[in-house]
Symmetry: C2
Subunit: 478 residues, 2 copies
């Protein structure tokens, strides 16, 4: 039987453990090698985001593998952005005008542990920890590992190898260094890095600030955000330039300077963070990079999936969701080709079909995530942007079936791809911003239903004009 | 004296030899190491483009170093594109409506030899051949070389090292592999490769087809082009997919198939190329890649320049011109900082200032060159594009001071940067194409001066509208 093929998965993070679970459910013999120790037995969170945004595209994958309810128990709904200004004033900006649309804060470790448990419960799935992949011989479909404890090195082969080993992927490195085929590759860093901090629970174990929001302290060139955890704490992240501006990661070298910076820029956050200085100097500063590459596969032998194929910056809260959606898309392609003989040529067809449908969407979310970096640290504090959001919330509320903002298209419309969401969403943003700038529309009278209907028609027309004009011109610059 | 600083240049190609000449003229001690033998003594053209497009930005550099007239003697003017259809019909599409604007075909070897001669004539410039750079220690400002003949390895140091060693740059590789700083890097390949062929002179030594044009056989998914050489021959290049379409580089494996392909698609070219099959199987197929990276410098120690910093595809005929313009820009920055003390900190300021002003423009020409790939193989054969060109030629002719097409902005307006040319040029293209598609304007009555003035105003207005709308929206996606 075809499904008795051996699938080797490199990496048991969020994407790898989900893929192992799904391929296990499909009946394949699945072996997973993970470089880290088993996170269910060791605390290995240091330096990694300990909570993440989980939304509809990710949930689509949880439904596929039948664990939607178990995941829901790990989620803290966040209904919108709570913006904190320098004076400590806050205002809430909902993610959607439709009440049932919100995102969630979820523990990376908790979700990963659940996926590992579910995958390991299948008898045809085996997961090995502490085995680091050093390289992949993609021509022979073999991977070279080293055991972290014994230092012993060994080679494993399989019918196919799928690398879900993240932004530093060993398979991707083997593609790049192997020079056996033309490999398009990019790594692009922002000028900013990030550092994780924390707001601990109050003495009574309560949340020190509003629980059901993604908190943002936007300051134009830099920002702080905070997401809630189930234990009453918030994981706080500072996004700041390495070397530009008055305060930056390179010059914040003393406790006094760090405190001065927060006192000046984030006084209300500082009050909640007596542990700021300790966190700041204990936790690493990490870079923010985007990785794109092509092709993802080598013939019918090997395939990149998740962050190994498309690492993105975190500002759309879509990194994990995009990787989960990879598995959904891959599963759909397997289903479409269920009558195909799974020899090398069959797998090559599947890998190529998957890459062709998927890459345009992961390219789009990578670009959208960079857009949102600027939106979060800067635009959310600007009047014209706030007016746009007010209009969009009113439209979504009044016309829930007819209007979705770019944010909603990307986050809550899981049945369209990221690329379609990007093209329509950017055109809408451009339409609304230009009509606001030209005083063609205003963000007043939004309770007047007749005016709202006019507004809806104007936004739709102008958006379609922009899309049409771009379409005529797009042959000129691909 | 400051100028007695030692500058080590890696690579004596077009950019390196020009840089050596200019730095020599400025009085620095310049040492150049080139991996290849001296091209003035050996024929090493195999596999490289033997002629190139030379235009105003390149000529700006020739003026700077005072060899404009000597270069002119190597040039063959090309006034436009001569388009060849499948039936062998041809039509000429001029590059500009202004008669004095044209591009030139120039011999790579001839121009490089001239630059080497001029540089070596300066007593403070020394050029070593057959010395391959293996790596650069950018922290110590030393470069590691190997002599091609003796295999001896040696290390050279300098006050600064500038790498002009092309798309496969050893310095860039050292930046990438060194992992000492965040290095943004991309290499992107087109689906197409290229192969050089030739149209030899007639038996009487004449050109077999029209001399003063860049010939194009556009076929939608692939194309052939030809540029004249001084000896009466044309260098012909086939651009074709590696593996897509009925005919591609992977399946053109026999003389019969190659001949069949040319007979079907390029019958008039085939008649001029009795040597086709021999050329096809003797010459390599080479990839078409774009390289971008950042930063270009490491502190005040090392700098990438020319193709090593920004390799582009050849379709705008701007690769050499962009690298020459690098030297002009770098020279201008040196001039601006002529009172700066040239210690490490001084050089760092110069390198950073240069990168900041220059990178936006080299990014733009990289993207424009990919636009032009699609324009040349496809759009030039389409009615709407031909109408746009007719209108633009008429506008340039009637209003030479007021209108320049994107092609003219990029190629002949050497006093504006590539980025400005791209933004205005793309907006103009979008304006004209959309007005043509909406029947707002037509490509008729172009001899009517009153209509032409209306046309000019419409194009300018619509272009400005597009630029304004993009400006309002651009804060949303950087």
């Amino acid at each position: 039987m075809e499904n008795k093929q051996n699938i080797l998965i490199i990496g048991a993070g969020l994407c790898g453990s989900l893929l192992a679970l799904r391929m296990g459910q499909r009946g394949y013999n699945v072996t997973v090698y993970e470089m880290r120790p088993d996170l269910r037995k060791t605390d290995i969170s240091a330096g990694r985001s300990i909570n993440l945004a989980f939304s509809d595209r990710g949930n689509k994958a949880m439904k596929l593998v039948g664990i939607e309810d178990k995941v829901k128990a790990l989620c803290i709904p966040m209904n919108g952005r709570m913006i904190h200004d320098k004076e400590g004033n806050t205002f809430m900006s909902n993610y959607s005008g439709r009440d049932h649309e919100y995102i969630n804060s979820i523990s990376r470790g908790g979700l990963n542990a659940l996926l590992l448990d579910e995958a390991e419960a299948l008898e045809n799935v085996t997961i090995h920890f502490n085995k680091k992949c050093k390289s992949v011989n993609f021509e022979n479909t073999t991977a070279h590992f080293q055991d972290y404890n014994t230092k012993e090195e060994f080679v494993e082969d399989a019918d196919i190898i799928i690398a879900t080993d993240g932004a530093g992927s060993a398979l991707r490195k083997s593609y790049y260094l192997g020079k056996k085929f033309l490999f398009s590759y990019s790594q692009n860093y922002l000028t900013h890095g990030y550092k994780e901090l924390s707001i601990l629970p109050s003495e009574t174990g309560d949340y020190k600030t509003f629980k059901n929001a993604l908190h943002i302290w936007p300051r134009g060139d830099f920002m702080v955000i905070a997401l809630p955890n189930l234990d009453g704490s918030f994981t706080v992240t500072l996004f700041l330039s390495y070397d530009e501006g008055e305060y930056n990661f390179n010059n914040l070298t003393t406790p006094e300077m760090v405190t001065e910076f927060f006192k000046k820029e984030f006084p209300d956050a500082l009050e909640l963070m007596p542990n700021l200085v300790e966190d700041f100097f204990e936790n690493p500063t990490a870079p923010l990079g985007t990785v794109k590459c092509s092709p993802w596969n080598f013939k019918g032998n090997t395939l990149l999936m998740g962050d190994s194929a498309h690492a993105i910056v975190p500002f759309y809260g879509q990194g994990m969701n995009a990787s989960f959606e990879d598995v959904v898309e891959f599963d759909a392609i397997l289903h479409q080709h269920k009558d195909l003989k799974l020899d090398k040529s069959g797998w090559e067809t599947i890998f190529k079909t998957y890459s062709k449908t998927r890459k345009k969407d992961t390219d789009a979310i990578a670009d959208l995530a960079i857009d949102n970096f600027h939106e979060m640290k800067d635009h959310v504090g600007q009047a014209i942007f706030q007016e746009k959001r007010k209009i969009e919330m009113a439209l979504e509320k009044a016309f829930p079936e007819e209007y979705s903002s770019k944010y909603s298209l990307v986050t809550f419309n899981e049945h369209i791809g990221y690329r379609e969401a990007m093209l329509r969403g950017r055109a809408q943003d451009k339409a609304i911003l230009n009509m606001l700038a030209d005083n063609d529309i205003t963000a007043t009278n939004l309770e007047d239903q007749t005016y709202l209907k006019t507004l809806l028609d104007k936004v739709k027309n102008e958006t379609n004009n922009i899309l049409d004009d771009d379409n005529v011109a797009k042959t000129m610059h691909h």
